[in-house]
């Protein structure tokens, strides 16, 4: 194939990708629920002179271990003062780049920084690092203001997880912790949104299937691509029921059948609530050898006034791999938090008795 033809095909594919409205993937619903096309945060077209590799059976090849590390620290919602601007300016990007450089320099120092302070939060040295600045001003790219749509009256005040407190400072039971702290799950979006560490997602393909293995809390999603229908409405789970298909070079995964509000939409499965009506439409598009654009449309009419979309790049990095994550083997934090709450109660009771 000559170069001109290759380029023309890539351009055609790119135009197709950009022009597919996200709402086309939602099966039904009134027009008001269609998300707007994001003003500028559109999918980046594939790199010039490069074609998406194919598996031996002809599917686009997304295989490898990908990480969302580069967008660690990018806020979920865009600060209101940035309005409809989805990307950092050149100046802000340069500022972010120098922040990362300073951090890398700081990391290399052999002695503790003079301004280091003892804290009760996770120390800075626990985190994994972005390798390059994330270009986005927020992870939410639609609505165009980068803000999560208004919650419905039904959803306001809902706590995650359903039926128990989330990170209650005085937990009465193991049920008062989030499903993340309990090592159960971070949900579909929580498993891939960038957090301070453990952002690896390994993709393995076979004819008719894609498997995505998330490092933290070791979620393995096995997604059929053969067009089989979703499970019946009575079959529900934390991770829902996923079905995938290809649209050009984009892997589209639709997930329904959630139990509802066991995890939210946000970092590590926190964030804003969900319901059993949640439908997620994820899109994985490899845009260059080491970058896959990830986006997810969150459609949950019981929870949000309209569908909304989150997007960020996943990258492949030299030497990066998933490691084992047997989460509950040493989950002392649960024990410490419960015994800590009992100790606080005991002291309060003793103090009250003394006052009598």
């Amino acid at each position: 194939m000559n170069r001109f033809l290759t380029l023309a095909l890539i351009l055609a594919a790119a135009i197709t990708l950009v022009s597919i409205p996200a709402a086309a993937q939602t099966t039904s619903g009134p027009p008001a629920r269609k998300p707007d096309a994001p003003a500028a945060a559109k999918q980046t077209p594939p790199a010039k002179g490069w074609a998406v590799p194919k598996t031996p059976w002809g599917d686009p090849d997304l295989q490898g271990t990908w990480t969302s590390d580069d967008c660690i620290g990018t806020p979920m919602q865009r600060p209101a003062n940035l309005g409809d601007r989805p990307y950092l300016t050149e100046q802000e990007l340069a500022q972010r780049e120098s922040q990362l450089a300073r951090q890398a320099e700081n990391d290399k120092q052999e002695t503790v920084a003079s301004d280091a302070r003892v804290g009760v939060g996770p120390p800075g040295h626990w985190g994994e690092r972005a390798r390059r600045p994330c270009k986005q001003t927020s992870l939410v790219v639609d609505p165009p203001n980068g803000r999560i749509p208004e919650l419905t009256a039904e959803a306001k005040g809902k706590r995650i997880p359903e039926g128990a407190g989330n990170n209650n400072p005085m937990p009465a039971s193991w049920e008062d912790f989030s499903y993340y702290i309990r090592c159960i799950t971070r949900g579909v979006t929580g498993s891939i949104f960038p957090v301070i560490y453990g952002n690896g997602a390994q993709i393995v393909q076979a004819p008719g299937f894609v498997t995505i293995l998330h490092e933290m809390v070791h979620e393995a999603r096995v997604i059929p691509l053969d067009g089989r229908p979703h499970a019946g409405p009575n079959i529900r789970s934390y991770m829902g029921d996923s079905r995938g298909h290809w649209e050009g070079n984009t892997l589209v995964i639709e997930t329904t059948n959630f139990l509802g509000n066991r995890t939210g939409i946000g970092l590590n499965g926190g964030g804003t609530p969900t319901s059993d009506a949640l439908k997620l439409t994820e899109r994985y598009t490899r845009i260059d050898p080491n970058t896959t654009q990830y986006e997810v449309t969150i459609d949950d009419p019981k929870t949000y006034a309209r569908p909304w979309k989150v997007m960020f790049p996943l990258t492949q990095e030299q030497g990066y791999q998933n490691f084992e994550y047997a989460c509950h083997e040493g989950n002392y934090a649960m024990f410490d938090s419960l015994s800590g709450a009992r100790a606080v109660e005991k002291k309060a009771a003793e103090d009250a008795a003394k006052k009598k």
Binding site: D107, I196, D336, V344
Partner: protein
């Protein structure tokens, strides 16, 4: 307790706001910001367990009595990515630990700052917090 605890009297500077997202914890539920600890201990073993590694140390008190403590460290996978291996911290190594004790009064603490006795950082990585959110982004 008559271990060689040097109780800090400084006002506690909370670093939580500089960390962009939660770790696998309800930190405030687990550790007590009113119980700062700072002492020297000898490593007896390191548990490479998820979701976080724990360093076991023996702390010798003024009376010579040895008390075992557990100090929480980073996630093992993050340590691996920073080049740590199971041989990186040998038993018998002396370390200095600063952090906060568990709320229930047990001999467990978060290891906010851990150094070798010559002042070098135990863990490669920032000791001054993370850079936080992207420019122009106030806290959510």
């Amino acid at each position: 307790m008559r271990t060689k605890l040097l109780i800090l009297t400084t006002v506690i500077g909370l670093l939580m706001s500089t960390v962009p997202a939660w770790a696998h914890h309800a930190f405030a539920a687990e550790f007590d910001a009113s119980k700062p600890i700072k002492f020297r201990g000898t490593v007896t073993k390191m548990e490479w367990i998820n979701p976080h590694a724990w360093i076991h140390i023996d702390v010798k008190g003024d009376d010579g009595k040895v008390t075992p403590w557990m100090i929480e460290a980073a996630a093992p996978n993050a340590l691996l990515r920073r080049g740590w291996t199971k041989n990186s911290l040998a038993a018998g190594t002396e370390i200095l630990v600063e952090g906060y004790q568990a709320k229930d009064g047990a001999n467990r603490a978060n290891g906010s700052i851990i150094t070798f006795t010559d002042g070098k950082k135990l863990f490669v990585g920032s000791s001054a917090g993370d850079p936080g959110a992207a420019p122009g982004a106030p806290k959510q």
